[in-house]
Symmetry: D2
């Protein structure tokens, strides 16, 4: 009868700690509430050389808005994300330093503002038009994410983008995803975006 | 310095109590987790002759899936829903006995099964094809819900449907909404659907 | 397969609603955090003619202090309190209008202040010295509460006190209990005490 | 505008991760619920060479019983414990490898069983009779914990005990404290005690 601690390695403990701090950063940023999409936000953190969603920490039940503030629905655990986990795993094939990501809402107005913001930051923003996804890709289980990531890298001229802007599609809400090396870094950057966008002139 | 209790009337207290019991019914039904859409589920309960969202109780942050089970993100409070609140208010213009509703995911497979289930129950199911929404309606703030409800009632031959099936659209997930007189009733019915769908042959 | 709603009567729904509002009153009063004892606070509400703890609503896990503010650990449910439930049931034998109660910390300094506060309010304060409890009473399962309540009523000259001050004993923290007709009333009164005590000259 | 992550060092991240895993171990052990005292349980983890409560991680609001299971009231954070934090800091003066602790209820029956359990484990159990605390110690702010720890080490013949059994006193509940190097270790050991005590012959 051994506890979960028995199978957790040192990398896992540090990752959990960083995720906790990153999550509290997001929860402590009221301006971020305005950027949480209908499908909610997730924050993910992949092990080095992650291969499956079980190698990726995420917020169980995602981050939603309660009482006007961002709030995690459940605990941080490995395996709690599917979509965002696959995105980060796929990206790491192009750039192994990418291990964390956070998604947020994207209205047409926000999209224009974000383009300008990325320019001032020197960040690459890549737009993925989901309506361009070939039917053969859509119909093959698991083929969609590799296609999207390859498309985004191609659209960014071969560089791994800092922010992805996925357009909406039938049944799919438009969202942006910001990626980086570490959940604390991406949480800081996402919260800065939320504050800047909130206080824009 | 008076508390919130000072402004709460007897109708409000009974409504809160009924919502709490209904919410625990949903949280206690693990099969319902499979029916919670990406945009999460809400459960709403409108006062008699409700006019605005402030007259409608809902779950703050909606109901999401945590640890494989339905879980309310926040507390039950008046004003916590916008979309579902307007749906029930609009419906009550056609049938004032409708005061509660709950929404859930709708895959193509579920849609077919649900049609059959409604027939055995003698319930009216009405499909709203959001792609048919006239542009003038889409562009007028607040015009969408009256159009959708009128469309659903028209499609049901003038009767208020028991279940609405909203098709997806660009940026919008397909969802079903079940309505009734009381949140305990709609929670019971939604959980029965979840259990029957889970155990289908 | 019927839900919990099936067995809940109208009295139960109203009681749940009133408890929810009362609990939010307490949670919304930061000054009350300073009055939450080590054993935490409970808020209880008994049905008319309650006979057992199953007839009494209380906060599961009680109310504790999180992030400097009062916070309910779990949900409101029948049967969630033992000690406070029995106190209110026993009191109702003397005065059936007593159906709710809340407990809070009592330091020696608070005790003196509270005596003065009760005088200005015209409330009866009764001190129960637990050290005076006869051994025969202590050793008989379930005999302690009737003894304490009878003692408190006797000490108050036959009247049901508004506030009980239970002194500490070996293994037992000193607490005060404020009682009344309704949880919203007792929450309002307890929060007023917390604010007045916090802002005392 | 830098986030909390900016001031958190690597030791802090690992500590947070270990605490999270340890806490989930406790929450996942239903038998531990029976050992949670009225004053609730805390789980603490001190930095190396900790000097003040701000160097000690603990559960904000402690661990209480909700729905029959152990449940943390709030988040894990530095500074969230006073009593248990000082106990571990004081112990580390005698044995710097002691950095974590958890407390649990102690009935007379449990005390006898625990003595036997410690013998089979080869653990030192030390009883602190709080009634023996000199008045001069009781009245000097902050003097009580050093006295208690020195007393416990003395009673254990100069060795740092594995488990402390603090007897009750006026206003103070009897509790036991189990200490060790790491919160995962102490959580595992406390949960094993809970399971063994639950299933005792």
């Amino acid at each position: 009868m051994t506890g979960r601690g028995a199978v957790m390695d040192d990398e896992g403990f540090v990752m959990l700690g960083r995720m906790m701090v990153a999550l509290e950063e997001v929860e402590g940023c009221p301006e971020f509430a305005a950027l949480i999409p209908e499908v909610r936000t997730n924050l993910v953190y992949a092990r080095e050389r992650a291969r499956s969603r079980e190698d990726v920490l995420a917020v169980d039940g995602r981050i939603t808005v309660v009482d006007g503030r961002p709030k995690a629905a459940g605990r941080i655990r490995f395996g709690a994300s599917s979509h965002m986990a696959r995105l980060v795993i796929e990206l790491a094939r192009f750039d192994p330093s990418i291990r964390a990501g956070i998604d947020f809402a994207n209205t047409p107005h926000m999209a224009a503002w974000l383009g300008e913001y990325c320019r001032t930051k020197g960040w690459t923003l890549s737009v993925i038009d989901r309506r361009g996804e070939p039917e053969a890709v859509q119909e093959t289980e698991g083929a969609s994410m590799p296609w999207k990531v390859a498309e985004a890298v191609r659209a960014a001229g071969g560089r791994t983008p800092k922010i992805f802007y996925e357009t909406g599609a039938v049944g799919k809400e438009a969202v942006s995803v910001l990626v980086g090396r570490d959940p604390v870094e991406v949480a800081d950057q996402a919260c800065e975006i939320a504050r800047e966008y909130h206080g824009r002139g």
